[in-house]
């Protein structure tokens, strides 16, 4: 449904996207994961026909986004990162306007507006001015307009950014439900988000594809993604010994002395060692002052993946 080949985009001399290639099958949800400035928005703008690529090609439903831009755009529903809506219009008028521009006749617009207002739970706000809605509700209007014409392809740029946690959960479920009927590309800079929602994840950094795989394969490749921080009062050498001796522990580092030291323990994913660890330390009479689980930060994942690929 989406075919991208050697896509490159320069802003002046600066390569924002370099030689990206990937495919998305019909009905699949692809996550675009990368830190800020990695080129996610740029890639999406090329796919939606807003920006032309410097070189390379992209096809949507078989239509080249440059040579058959209008046909390609007909198959896309797009939600830009900043959710730019006309704030002086009501939700209904706005959706009607967007529907008209997508070639829907009046009867179909009416029917579909009712449907997307239902799906995006905008019912009570359908006659509110968009300018008066909260960020979360605007996001829903943004989703509603993207879905309106039942496009084959949905392109959603950071659809959960800046909305409150409860709405984030709802939005994720909503997006997950789009898969199957729609081919979806969503971008995010949050790893758990894409692994929850997407069937495949493309990791992009500094405009280049670092990895593209299923989420579970990625976490396997990443190895010890789970990490525990400890603060312990006790003899450093012995504490280190105990921690290293535990099953599933891969590496332990420390700083500080016997009176209080901080330890960072890297463990194999899949097992939660926190309870076991606390038990082991406390039973030996050492003071356990802090214990905290931490995932790998996105930056570390990139570092890991990029160095791994070079090795």
């Amino acid at each position: 449904m989406i075919e991208v080949r050697s896509l490159t985009k320069y802003y002046g001399d600066f390569p924002a996207v370099e030689d990206i290639s990937f495919d998305v099958k019909k009905g699949e949800i692809l996550g675009f994961l990368g830190p800020n400035g990695s080129g996610k928005t740029t890639t999406m703008r090329i796919l939606t026909g807003y920006l032309p690529p410097s070189s390379g090609t992209a096809r949507i439903a078989g239509y080249d986004v440059v040579d058959h831009s209008l046909d390609a755009r007909r198959h896309i529903g797009y939600l830009p990162e900043t959710v730019p809506l006309y704030t002086d219009m009501t939700v209904r008028d706005y959706l009607d306007f967007q529907g008209t521009l997508r070639g829907m006749d009046q009867a179909r617009r009416r029917k579909r507006i009712d449907e997307v207002v239902g799906v995006c739970r905008l019912g009570e706000y359908r006659d509110s001015h968009i300018g008066k809605l909260s960020k979360g509700y605007r996001q829903r209007v943004g989703l509603a307009q993207a879905l309106l014409h039942e496009p084959d392809v949905l392109i959603l740029d950071e659809p959960t950014i800046g909305i409150d946690p409860r709405q984030v959960v709802e939005t994720r479920q909503l997006i997950k439900s789009f898969g199957g009927d729609h081919t979806v590309v969503i971008s995010s800079h949050i790893l758990p988000e894409v692994s929850m929602v997407c069937e495949r994840v493309l990791i992009i950094n500094e405009g280049q594809v670092v990895a593209i795989d299923r989420p579970e394969n990625l976490s396997n490749r990443l190895g010890g993604t789970e990490r525990i921080h400890l603060e312990v009062r006790g003899p450093v050498k012995e504490v280190m010994g105990v921690l290293r001796g535990m099953k599933g522990v891969q590496e332990v580092t420390n700083e500080g002395g016997d009176s209080l030291a901080r330890y960072t323990v890297e463990c194999r994913p899949g097992r939660d060692l926190r309870a076991e660890m606390a038990e082991a330390l406390v039973s030996r009479g050492w003071g356990l002052l802090g214990l905290q689980a931490a995932g790998m930060s996105l930056e570390e994942i990139f570092l890991k993946l990029t160095t791994e690929d070079q090795a």
């Binding site: 703008r45 939606t48 026909g49 807003y50 920006l51 032309p52 209008l70 046909d71 755009r73 007909r74 896309i76 797009y78 830009p80 900043t82 730019p84 809506l85 006309y86 002086d88 219009m89 306007f97 967007q98 008209t100 521009l101 997508r102 070639g103 307009q145």
Partner: protein, 234 residues
């Protein structure tokens, strides 16, 4: 065409839900009303010249205020991205915005119809020059709005768009009055905006003048479409 009309309709609605159109129209009515009244009281003649000539110049001052937001605002707010990723042609977007502004101008001109109505009530004006005068104003305004449209498409800043539009219009206004002799002189004279307007105030419809204003409008509308395209390639 359907896309163009949908965009035009939205523009008109935006004009009349924000204060711009009202303020611009009010200023236009007050200033031209002053000229009209002053001319009527001093010359005591039942014709519209007291409105038409100053009106054409006031139009030059207010159209950039009407057009400045057309593209600049959408670029600033980012809404242009969603608009242009719809399956619509750039020229449909440009024409929609152009027609939306033109309609707003038309409303403004219709509101000035009370000047000729006053003349009718208290005198016996010659209707010919009044009708051609209005046609002239509308054609002049059509050209001016196209200029402002282009200015708005090159920037995300509305003030910059207004100043730029005003600059181009003033240039087109004065270009004939430099008094250059020979071919260049007559070319500049032909290109100047106000020269073609005089005929209309006298009750004459000169095809050349009509063609002139329509060509200026078409040229700037076309340039705006190119400017949108260029913006993508930057």
């Amino acid at each position: 065409m359907r896309n163009t009309m949908a965009i035009a309709k939205r523009e008109v609605r935006t004009y009349f839900t924000s204060p711009i159109a009202y303020v611009v129209t009010a200023v236009f009515l007050v200033v031209t009303g002053y000229f009209f009244a002053a001319d009527l009281l001093t010359r005591q003649m039942a014709n519209l010249r007291g409105f038409l000539s100053p009106g054409s110049f006031v139009l030059l001052l207010v159209t950039p205020l009407l057009t400045m937001r057309l593209f600049a605002e959408e670029q600033k707010l980012g809404t242009l991205e969603l608009l242009l990723t719809n399956p619509v042609r750039d020229i449909e977007v440009v024409m929609g915005k152009y027609l939306g502004s033109l309609f707003t101008l038309l409303v403004m001109l219709v509101l000035t119809l009370y000047y000729p109505l006053l003349l009718r009530m208290f005198g016996d004006p010659d209707l010919g020059p009044i009708l051609t005068g209005y046609l002239g104003l509308f054609l002049l305004g059509s050209a001016m709005i196209a200029v402002g449209l282009l200015a708005s498409s090159v920037t995300a800043n509305q003030i910059v768009a207004a100043v730029l539009g005003l600059g181009i219009l003033i240039l087109l206004w004065v270009v004939g009055s430099v008094g250059t002799a020979g071919a260049l002189g007559s070319l500049l004279d032909y290109v100047a905006l106000p020269r073609h307007f005089t005929d209309f105030t006298l009750g004459v419809i000169d095809t050349k003048s009509v063609v002139y204003y329509l060509s200026v409008a078409a040229a700037f509308v076309f340039l705006t479409a190119r400017s949108l395209e260029m913006r993508r390639w930057r």
